[in-house]
Subunit: 401 residues, 2 copies
């Protein structure tokens, strides 16, 4: 016998973060949502803050949202303190991860001669952005076979790596890897921020999104981190008026703000920033060390059950077994991964996601996932595959992306 | 005697768009909101669609908002049809105006050798973006003294111009001016879109925002237009996965979509795009020809009253007197413009905005501005300045931006 359900319930009873689940809107208590690593659940406080912001818009119009103009830096500073181990003026919340990566890598190329490097397994938008920049900046693009190979490229100017791999869930040691190279390393924190602890004091540059573990909503504002000592030597390629010193003087020449704020471009997405700010209250209350600790326990339970129950059914755990070496999702390889994902959604009320070619990805955001949810998800997955139910899904169903 | 208030009321009674005012949230019927050219009012339908979208997020989470992935092109196509006189696949709604201008001018530089040009009076973020691109692309930057001078620069690669000047309200003849140069002209439509008719079939490239006359909310998604025949020869500098052919194949190399969609970068701001889509329903129902016609009538009334009432008080109309040569706002120059703006807000319940150094700017969005509002705003302005009330505002008050 493997872990009993009673043991999962006991872990929930002892969980200091258990009450945070009530801070989220949950309309179907039977559904196990294991895709918060794609889109986080809606915090009740975010729903409330958006409702208030809409009322303000209706009532006060252009005079609404006192201090809205400083939201990108103010929310950036909060994100720095709550989730990133960064200092004031080092983080701004703005644009998309893609645009922010573009800005930082472009600016990093001004500081270093040489190649633009990433690993082949990195997230597609990161690879495409780097490919474009290599072309426009006249740099060699290296798509290395591994992270180690990427860091060993001798003439690298910039190396872009993901802190947590979006497929396997593997977490890299940012501090140690950053030290191994003279290149500037730009870290993509999209799959780690809000899930595990991050210490930006050990790195130079980073970007990330807010709609996964930060629960700021679909297409919510992304962020970027620039180490304070580097910022003033860097120039954003996109010189917008929100990065301008004394913006409303509307002066004749661009004179960038100090710190990360110089990477701001256009008008901030006010509703998205207010949502992120409200969501950060939850993360601040829970504390990243507690969140990360619970995440490791949740994924450890999943790993144990995968070994005990799923390995005999043809699954392989693609996520590192060392809890310190992973984020808050697990990847299960199976030749029938796609129909299994469909069947989980259609027949088992579990929401995973599928990653080509053969990964069932299960995310367990610590703020609203119970140990019993992990147990039940794995149990339903086991039952479904053992019964062969995934052979009966409609192949014309909308593809799980 | 000038125009009587009864005449304004008669114009309202005959106004075919009068009923559209009820489609907006208006909490203080006595307040005259003359700053919809900064931030448009909240349409009731937008409030409803955001409420629904939040419920969907809470309930369906990652499965919410069917077709969300196509929102940037779908809403772009609608905007093209309703407001821009553009064809399908020529417009996408995404990012900020600043980022979109950067992308288009960068891409235009691939097609043309020579200088990057604008006029000194152009909106600050446009000038700063161009200054940055001139530096990074190794082009000469020309800040011409006038639009005519900008178009006469002999080695221009790209000329960036505003369709409607954000200060004076002057509207340029885009078709005629685009024909005068071999350079690619990029038009900033921020102060014209949704206010006056636009025919993109006569131009090559354009950008604009949605939070002014399009009423899509603070920091709502911007848009860009690329003439279909040009698009496939252009490359976005920011090669994001939303511009990628078969995005979720996550293939190894960037292979851009056809049309304007290749200029998409990161994840779309779903709530903002749904808001824009809902707001476009109103513009589509009213029709841009009707909207523009009413706008010309509103600004004509303001111009007449400015001449009759305000000129004796030291005001000069800075907006063209030809109705076809302006947008939907008027600019009144006065040496005391700043305290006058403060006094209007504090003592007269009129919301204008101030533009340095000496402009009181009054915007009259046709969908929710009545002729009586224009009459009352001008009347309150006259009374306030005649009584010298602007000499009593607190100089420490928050600056009107």
């Amino acid at each position: 016998v493997s872990v009993e359900r009673a043991e999962a319930l006991a872990l929930d009873a002892a969980d200091p973060l258990a009450s945070f689940r009530d801070a989220f809107v949950i309309t179907d208590p039977q559904r196990i949502y294991a895709d918060g690593n794609s889109l986080g659940r809606l915090p009740r406080a975010v729903a409330a803050v958006i409702t208030d912001a809409m009322h303000e818009w209706g009532d006060r119009i252009v005079e609404a949202w006192d201090g809205w103009i400083d939201l990108p830096t103010r929310v950036g500073d909060r994100l720095a303190a709550v989730c990133l181990g960064a200092q004031p003026d080092e983080v701004v919340a703005c644009d998309s991860t893609t645009v922010n990566l573009y800005k930082l890598v472009h600016a990093a190329c001004d500081l270093r001669e040489g190649a633009i490097v990433t690993d082949r397994a990195n997230f597609p938008t990161d690879r495409y952005v780097l490919e474009g920049l290599a072309g426009s900046r006249g740099r060699r693009l290296v798509l290395a076979d591994s992270v180690a190979d990427a860091l060993a490229v001798p003439d690298a100017a910039v190396v872009c790596l993901s802190h947590v791999d979006y497929r396997s869930g593997e977490a890299l040691d940012m501090a140690a890897l950053t030290r191994t190279t003279e290149a500037l390393v730009v870290w993509d924190l999209s799959h780690s921020v809000g899930a595990i602890e991050i210490d930006c004091s050990t790195i130079d540059l980073a970007v990330g999104c807010s709609y996964k573990y930060l629960n700021a909503g679909p297409g919510g504002p992304a962020f970027l981190f620039v180490r304070r000592a580097l910022a003033d030597a860097m120039r954003s390629p996109i010189q917008g008026w929100f990065g301008q010193h004394e913006q409303f003087a509307m002066g004749p020449r661009y004179d960038p703000l100090p710190g990360a704020a110089r990477f701001l471009a256009g008008s901030p997405p006010v509703l998205g920033l207010l949502a992120l700010d409200a969501s950060l209250d939850l993360l601040a209350d829970a504390g990243m060390p507690q969140i990360a600790r619970k995440g490791r326990a949740l994924t450890s339970l999943a790993a144990t059950l995968a070994d005990d129950w799923l390995a005999p059914l043809g699954f392989t755990l693609a996520t590192p077994r060392d809890p310190a070496a992973r984020g808050s999702h697990v990847a299960l390889r199976h030749a029938d991964a796609w129909p299994i994902c469909r069947a989980l959604i259609e027949r088992a009320n579990v929401v995973p996601d599928f990653r080509r070619p053969d990964i069932v990805r299960l995310g367990f955001p610590p703020l609203y996932t119970r140990f019993a949810d992990v147990w039940d998800a794995m149990d339903r997955l086991r039952g479904l595959v053992a019964a062969g139910e995934h052979h009966h899904v409609d192949p014309r169903a909308r593809r799980v992306t």
